[in-house]
């Protein structure tokens, strides 16, 4: 009985396996560190507009960057779309990206692309302070994240220390303000007994549910919560710290074209599409991100990017997190 079962099951499994394995034939292969819900609609629009077929492989940005590094010149990827500039910077450092054509990237502000144009940002996100207006009146809101070390915030702050965007923000502070100031800020935050959450969206939820007074997050989680539970149930608000405050860091999700790709022209078309008006509108309206193409409006309720917003740093430098993690650990936050 058992043998007969195995005799039927094994060939069936093998047949199914070959069927699963034979679904290829794409024109472009994309490694995406961005979540599928953010990427898929754009891919469908691109396929419709150009007739090219894209097959996407999803993963975490850092792990895909490591995978691309391991693949080296034998990479299967034509384009790498990463969640943050740091992952792009690391692949660039290994010399695995080729330049994106000038006419494609020139629409993007220099601030949001690599020095040699080996990658470019396609959509932006700002660090914000999410707060519960029932607990924090507008007059009390901090002008800078540096104010959050004041004793009055003790026990009221939420952070996500294991989260990549929090770590990028600390890295930006480190680059822009130097180590002594960053260290004392981290010590101050630690002294204020912050509450630790595993992710940004849970902080926003907690602020909305009255569990924390304010938290350090990316701007779009509040908008996501709004569309998830409805506008009327969303009490929490975003507060934008001013000017070049590290708390106002604008990071990007961006793309690079692999030097080893044999489909350079199609890859460039893909990047061009991501920077085109329809795609940029999609990022703005559906993902609530900042469009990086001038002239495309931000989502309702989201103030547009300011010219000098955030600390003046090179986003590719956010790749080097070692120092940041050391600091976070030595101050006991991680």
């Amino acid at each position: 009985m058992r043998r007969r079962l195995a005799g039927v099951a094994l060939p069936l499994l093998l047949l199914a396996a070959t069927l699963v394995a034979c679904s290829d034939g794409a024109d472009l292969t994309l490694y995406s560190g961005r979540a599928e819900f953010q990427v898929k609609p754009i891919l469908e629009q691109f396929e419709k507009a150009t007739g090219l077929k894209v097959s996407a492989r999803y993963g975490a940005s850092a792990e895909l960057a490591a995978q691309i590094a391991e693949e080296g010149s034998g990479s299967r990827a034509d384009v790498f779309w990463a969640q943050d500039a740091g992952a792009l910077g690391s692949v660039d450092k290994l010399g695995l990206f080729g330049p994106v054509p000038q006419d494609v990237v020139s629409v993007v502000d220099r601030k949001y692309r690599a020095p040699a144009d080996n990658w470019t940002g396609v959509s932006g996100r700002a660090r914000v302070v999410v707060y519960d207006p029932r607990k924090v009146p507008a007059a009390e809101l901090p002008a800078s994240v540096f104010d959050l070390t004041q004793p009055k915030w003790k026990g009221r702050i939420a952070i996500a220390p294991t989260n990549g965007s929090f770590q990028s923000f600390v890295t930006a502070m480190l680059i822009a303000e130097g180590e002594p100031r960053t260290r004392s800020w981290l010590q101050g935050i630690k002294a204020n007994d912050p509450r630790n959450y595993p992710s940004n969206d849970l902080i926003v939820k907690a602020a909305n549910d009255g569990q924390v007074d304010l938290g350090l997050v990316n701007h779009y989680y509040l908008f996501q919560l709004q569309s998830e539970i409805g506008r009327e149930k969303t009490v929490a608000r975003n507060h934008y710290t001013a000017g070049t405050d590290p708390g106002a860091l604008v990071n990007v999700a961006g793309v690079g074209i692999l030097k080893s790709s044999k489909k350079q022209a199609d890859a460039a078309r893909f990047v061009e599409y991501l920077l085109s008006e329809p795609a940029q509108r999609h990022f703005a309206e559906v993902n609530f991100e900042y469009p990086l193409r001038p002239g495309v409006p931000t989502a309702a309720g989201l103030p547009p990017l300011q010219a000098g917003q955030g600390p003046p740093i090179n986003l590719g430098d956010l790749a080097d997190l070692d120092h940041t993690l050391d600091l976070l650990r030595s101050t006991g936050l991680l």
Partner: protein, 497 residues
């Protein structure tokens, strides 16, 4: 022997990779990474966690196996299936569910609880398989000599299940060393967390590889220590006549209170995370349930895990048999090598296979066979330990008699050895299947592009913050584990009669 050696070499590929990556830039960098006070402290923490979880899992696994196999626990056949299922729950899902209900949950105790709840089946499944097949005559003999049921259990049965329980705990220990999901979400600063962080932070694969090597050294230490405790006991009965169906131990007035054990454990390990996911689904106004897609992912999961289980169990047969029958040093080394992949973080094993397939088997890269192979490297020890456990129960004299009567080795294997070790192979395959179901890092890196499993669906939903969308695939993930565990308990019954 040659077969077993080949399997062991395949299992050691990640080690070669780590050596290549770690050795690539002079020894001072190696020293810099290794001789940090922090490295030592983290290693100690990881080992402490692994020891605690293994101990607790051994107690829970043995107790549940005894309750559900040997006692007249109400509904014991259903419980036998249910208590094995937490193995299919990804640790990051369980941890995330706990933290989302109780924010600030962090550190040793919550990590210990979550990991124990998810890994005791490593002990439960092999022990239950052995209990099912232990000759009750031995226990009867003890009873007839005046021992009470509990004393007889302790003096006779416990000794019989000791090897299975010990290897099960070893698997738990190695699994805990490699786990990343629970430790990262519950912020327990462990060694694996540092390995992952060094991938995520510096994007430099070297420090991670050096730390991986260190983890490897400690794994070898644990494996050697475990081998020493095995001793030279023999576990098979003498001359074996027809085996009688053991009569269940009457729990008397404890029959219903004893039910609390499986109820609480299944409640925490299965119902709590799945219930939380379902609550998210109910709360969310925009959850998108794409049934067709989840169905396809379910199919792909079953195919990949099924093939992974079949290939791994087959590979485990020569290794497990060799380890049980041969006392040679080489046999020991071969069997131990099979355990290495299980202690390494999934990302390390996955990257090592990226490295080797891109360079040496390029056409196969990101094709299903390589993913199946990765499952084999990661989970070989689960099947090896199970095969080993049942091979110990099978008296080698039977093979020897058959050989002396002129049967060829292959025939002996087919007619004598295979039926005897079949329960172990089956239990091993089931363990591997349950573990493959939830596998994430290798599936993401090595699966064909566009290939989706239930685990990757759960992951992409949580990544998107759409926790409600994770509910259905997570439920299916656990449901997919029902069939193999149920088949195992059925098989146990039919061979016993």
């Amino acid at each position: 022997m040659a077969l077993a050696g080949g399997v062991a070499l395949a299992a050691l590929l990640p080690v070669a990779y780590l050596a290549i990556r770690a050795g690539g830039g002079g020894w001072s960098a190696v020293a810099d990474t290794l001789f940090l006070e922090r490295t030592a402290r983290l290693l100690a923490r990881s080992l402490g966690l692994a020891a605690a979880v293994s101990g607790a899992s051994a107690v829970i696994g043995v107790a549940l196996a005894w309750l559900t196999v040997r006692c007249d626990l109400p509904g014991r056949r259903v419980w036998r299936v249910l208590v094995a299922l937490p193995l299919a729950v990804p640790s990051y899902v369980a941890a995330f569910a706990f933290v989302s209900n109780v924010p600030d949950l962090a550190g040793f105790v919550p990590t210990f609880v979550v990991l124990t709840l998810l890994s005791y089946p490593y002990v439960f499944l092999p022990v239950a398989a052995v209990l099912e097949h232990v000759d009750p005559a031995l226990e009867d003999a003890a009873r007839s000599l005046g021992d009470g049921p509990l004393t007889a259990f302790r003096r006779v049965t416990l000794r019989q299940i000791r090897p299975a329980a010990a290897t099960g705990s070893l698997l738990v220990c190695l699994y805990v060393l490699s786990d990343f999901g629970a430790v990262s979400i519950l912020r327990f600063d462990s060694f694996t967390r540092v390995i992952y962080q060094s991938y995520q932070s510096s994007f430099d694969r070297r420090p991670a590889a050096i730390l991986g090597c260190l983890l490897l050294v400690f794994t070898l230490g644990i494996l050697v220590a475990e081998a020493r405790t095995r001793g030279r006991a023999r576990y098979y009965g003498g001359s074996r006549g027809a085996r009688r169906q053991p009569s269940p131990v009457g729990l008397g007035r404890w029959r219903w209170p004893a039910l609390a054990a499986p109820v609480v454990i299944v409640g925490l390990a299965l119902a709590a995370p799945l219930g939380t996911a379902l609550r998210w689904l109910a709360e969310s106004v925009q959850a998108s349930v794409d049934l067709g897609r989840i169905g396809r992912a379910g199919g792909a999961t079953v195919v990949a895990s099924g093939l992974g289980a079949a290939v791994t169990a087959l590979g485990a047969v020569p290794v497990g048999l060799l380890a049980a029958r041969s006392r040679s040093r080489l046999a020991g080394i071969i069997e131990r090598s099979a355990f290495v992949g299980h202690a390494l973080p999934g990302i390390v094993v996955a990257l090592s296979l990226v490295f080797f397939t891109v360079r040496f088997m390029n056409p196969l890269y990101q094709r299903l066979p390589v993913l199946i192979f990765a499952y084999g490297v990661l989970f070989l020890p689960l099947a090896v330990s199970s095969v080993y456990g049942s091979a110990l129960q099978a008296p080698p004299a039977l093979d020897e008699v058959a050989r002396s009567l002129g049967k060829r080795p292959i025939e002996v294997f087919r007619t004598i050895t295979a039926p005897l070790i079949a329960p172990g192979v089956g239990a091993g395959a089931a363990l591997v299947f349950l573990t493959c179901l939830k596998e994430l890092p290798a599936t993401l890196l090595l699966g064909p592009t566009g290939f989706e499993t239930l685990a990757t669906r759960v992951w992409s939903a949580t990544q998107a913050g759409a926790y409600g969308d994770a509910a259905l695939p997570a439920l299916l993930l656990v449901a997919a584990g029902v069939l193999p565990t149920w088949a195992l308990t059925r098989r146990g019954r039919t061979t016993a009669t």
